[in-house]
Symmetry: C2
């Protein structure tokens, strides 16, 4: 039951589960507004997060894709894909390295209330 | 520069850097109000967090200490010390396991602006 949730502090900025999920949803939906909506986030808020991430790294993570048969859209750049993959790999390595300690901490939790009949 | 900040999800609750720092400051100051103040937290908020943590684990993490020459005070219980130590050990293990990946992610960041003269 115990699991890790990771923020990576990068100077004055940080990336964490919310921003990474937003990037993954943009990748899946091809749209910032659809990705934000799926996370109950305003379009403005989703855009702000994308702008913040685009400014934080050496190049943009999300780019507008113009033209083509679908008349444009939005996609992750190669750097965007690399950052998502890097975060997920860090999450996996941290979880694997602490599995035993997390189980020990979990053993200190109060017993769960039994389900009401 | 890149560093991890860990939340541990424990069912509907989580513990993270803020709650752990609060426990450490209670241990150092012997007082919930002084610990909260040092973190710019209201007494009420500090108490709420302590109550939440006391209810989450098999026993309290913080206990009122009555009597004695100093006329009472507040201290971490042995379980409180164990939870703090466990969190710090998990943080250390996760950081050690991801050091190389964090450095690689950091290499993708935008160059820092040069210092103003």
């Amino acid at each position: 039951m115990a699991s890790l949730s990771l923020r990576i502090d990068l100077g004055p900025h940080r990336i964490g589960p919310g921003k990474i999920e937003l990037l993954e949803r943009i990748d899946a939906a091809g749209s910032i507004s659809a990705a934000g909506r799926a996370m109950s986030m305003s379009y403005r808020r989703a855009w702000e997060l994308v702008e913040e991430m685009n400014g934080l790294f050496a190049g943009p993570l999300v780019s507008a894709r113009t033209g083509g048969r679908q008349g444009g859209g939005t996609a992750l750049t190669p750097l965007g894909h690399a950052v998502v993959a890097s975060y997920r790999a860090i999450e996996q390595a941290a979880t694997a390295a602490t599995r035993q300690q997390l189980a020990e901490l979990e053993a200190e939790l109060a017993p769960l209330p039994t389900a009401a009949e």
